[in-house]
């Protein structure tokens, strides 16, 4: 099977793990097993959605990210705040105060991801409206966790994914090149940073699913930056350069924003990894061929519901909505007009030149050789019939089916099942009893009697 090494930003902190199987049950791709009392992530199945980390009662999962100290390694640092960052703050805190706060943390320039979202929304709109003949609905490509879910579980849907870059990647390509020219600096001395609400975007910087070569230097944990920002808001550094987008680009922070900014009517927004899974299954069964577009966000509520967001997702949604409404009053009326008013950058990157092809990463198959796979399948069905079918998880696999699969792959044993173990122990004990009845006494009856009397 595929030997590619996968990078994951979600890691287990073994000393905290209690082996409780909560994560095993939550994982949408069945990528976790508890073995020897500790959770173990199966690298080729993990899609970095963070469902395990979000649901772990012992906070045993870490997300490894960059540290702000790394800014000192660059001559000029640009931060790309996403709408989800603004949503962490009530609208009584102005954008200007947040920008100044970012400046106080050591950034020299602010480039809003929302502006890149305006550009990408136009690409999506054009692509969807000129799409003819192929399978529908088209599927949004901006959530890396969803892209990975498609790679591992729904490779048949790859053709339906709209070939555009995630806005943050497009922003990074633009701003690194433009700033290098403007500042007359080598491009590699420019730090381009994202403040990420989720582990999947961090993973995407190390091992991208959408861009050939990322221009991001790294990303910071949003909840950590939030804590620092709170203490550093405001200021009046007039040298801080800021470029920002429209209220429509800002909509991308919450579910439905992508569809609204692209002006798509015959479209649905799905959020939450289980809902996305369900939706992809329906699309795969061709049950919605009349629908034009589906926006998919792995997190409930969209990016504001990300694992690394500090604020509650409903509070954040309310914050974001108020900010959008405020912004809308300041910009030209109408979606196209408002977007056109900010989209005046020279040579903003168009996705096709930078995008890489999404490739399947199938994880379901039992063996590369179909004859072997058939034998394993039959054996698996037999094993499954012998298991209790309770899906209790005590064996460390997510279901009896999962254990049966692990057994035929030689990764688990039947007596990992607690019920099988009890049955075996019972059988052995019964055997001992039978044996005891049949065994001839090896000592003289008199000696045994003496022993009895001694008591």
């Amino acid at each position: 099977m595929a030997q590619t090494k996968y990078y994951h930003s979600v890691e287990l902190q073994e000393d905290r793990c209690q082996g409780c199987v909560a994560c095993v049950k939550l994982c949408p791709t069945e990528a976790i097993r508890v073995r020897n009392g500790k959770a173990e992530i199966l690298s080729d199945r993990c899609i970095d959605c963070g469902a395990c980390a979000a649901g772990c009662p012992y906070h045993a999962f870490n997300v490894s990210m960059d540290a702000l100290e790394e800014l000192s390694g660059y001559a000029y640092n640009i931060v790309l705040p996403a709408p989800s960052l603004y949503a962490q703050f009530p609208d009584s805190i102005s954008r200007e105060d947040i920008w100044q706060g970012l400046g106080n943390l050591g950034f020299d320039e602010v480039f809003d991801v929302s502006l890149a979202s305006d550009y990408i929304a136009c690409e999506i709109e054009n692509y969807v409206k000129s799409y003819t003949g192929g399978r529908k609905p088209l599927i949004s490509s901006t959530c890396p966790a969803v892209m990975r879910l498609i790679q591992v579980k729904f490779p048949e849907l790859i053709k339906q994914v709209v070939p555009v870059l995630a806005p943050v990647e497009a922003a990074a390509i633009y701003v690194r090149r433009e700033a290098a020219e403007r500042r007359n600096l080598p491009a590699d001395l420019i730090g381009v940073w994202f403040i990420s609400p989720c582990p999947s975007k961090e993973t995407n910087i190390r091992q991208s699913v959408d861009v050939q070569q990322t221009q991001l230097s790294g990303s910071f944990n949003m909840s950590e930056v939030y804590g620092l920002l709170l203490k550093n808001l405001g200021g009046n550094d007039t040298s801080l350069r800021v470029t920002t987008g429209s209220s429509y680009g800002m909509e991308w922070g919450a579910y439905g924003g992508e569809i609204r900014s692209a002006g798509l009517e015959n479209a649905l927004a799905v959020h939450g990894i289980d809902n996305v899974y369900d939706m992809l299954e329906q699309i795969s069964m061709n049950k919605m061929p009349q629908l034009d577009y589906v926006e998919c966000n792995a997190c409930q509520g969209g990016c504001i519901g990300g694992l690394l967001a500090a604020e509650n997702k409903f509070v954040a949604e309310s914050n974001l909505r108020r900010r959008i409404n405020k912004l809308r009053q300041e910009e030209p009326a109408g979606r196209e007009e408002a977007m056109a008013a900010v989209m005046h950058l020279d040579h903003f990157p168009a996705s096709p030149a930078y995008r890489k092809k999404l490739v399947p990463r199938p994880m379901m198959q039992l063996d590369d050789d179909i004859m072997e796979a058939m034998k394993k399948f039959e054996r698996m069905e037999e094993v499954l019939c012998s298991l209790p079918g309770l899906d209790c998880g005590a064996c460390g696999a997510p279901s009896c089916q999962g254990l049966a699969e692990d057994i035929v792959q030689g990764k688990a044993h039947e007596i990992d099942c607690i019920f099988k173990l009890r049955a075996s122990v019972h059988k052995i004990a019964q055997g001992m009893l039978e044996l005891a009845k049949q065994l001839p006494m090896s000592q003289e009856p008199a000696a045994v009697n003496n022993l009895e009397e001694d008591k």
């Binding site: 061709n286 198959q365 590369d368 796979a373 058939m374 399948f377 039959e378």
Partner: protein
């Protein structure tokens, strides 16, 4: 090594049970994925099987859905002891349907079932006797072009 090796799955499907509709095709789909059948072929088989499964639930009052996977092709056989189809040629036309209103309200019965099965599969065969039942056999080649 025998090239005739195959694995089978078979499910009884209850008539009118819309809540469990699609279970048989979903399990068959998972089996095909485990066997490593190409994703596009799995998709076609799943769609064709689902259409046939729905027909049994809607029209026939129950029946059986069976899949047999060979190394180079998959055969789906869906049989029932329902009312049978009086005019098969007509039933194969797009948009022709005898589904009752309540079924159409659930979003089924658009008259695309049989035509879709013909489109999805590499070989389609139907036998039907009025008052005795219907048997549909579809073959899907694992190497064929994506439709």
């Amino acid at each position: 090594m025998s090239e005739n090796k195959s694995v089978k799955l078979s499910f009884d499907v209850a008539g009118g049970d819309f809540e469990r509709a699609g279970e048989a095709s979903s399990k068959i789909k998972k089996m095909l994925q485990r066997l490593g059948i190409p994703a596009d072929i799995v998709r076609r088989i799943a769609i064709g099987t689902y259409e046939a499964e729905m027909n049994v639930i809607i029209h026939a009052g129950g029946g059986n859905v069976a899949a047999e996977v060979f190394p180079d092709n998959t055969v789906i056989e869906v049989s029932d002891h329902g009312p049978g189809i009086p005019d098969i040629d007509k039933a194969l036309q797009e948009g022709w349907s005898t589904a009752p209103d309540y079924v159409r309200q659930l979003g089924f019965g658009a008259g695309m079932g049989l035509p879709n099965m013909v489109k999805c599969s590499d070989d389609f065969h139907i036998e039907s006797v009025v008052d005795e039942g219907t048997t549909i056999t579809m073959r899907f080649d694992h190497q064929s072009e994506d439709l």
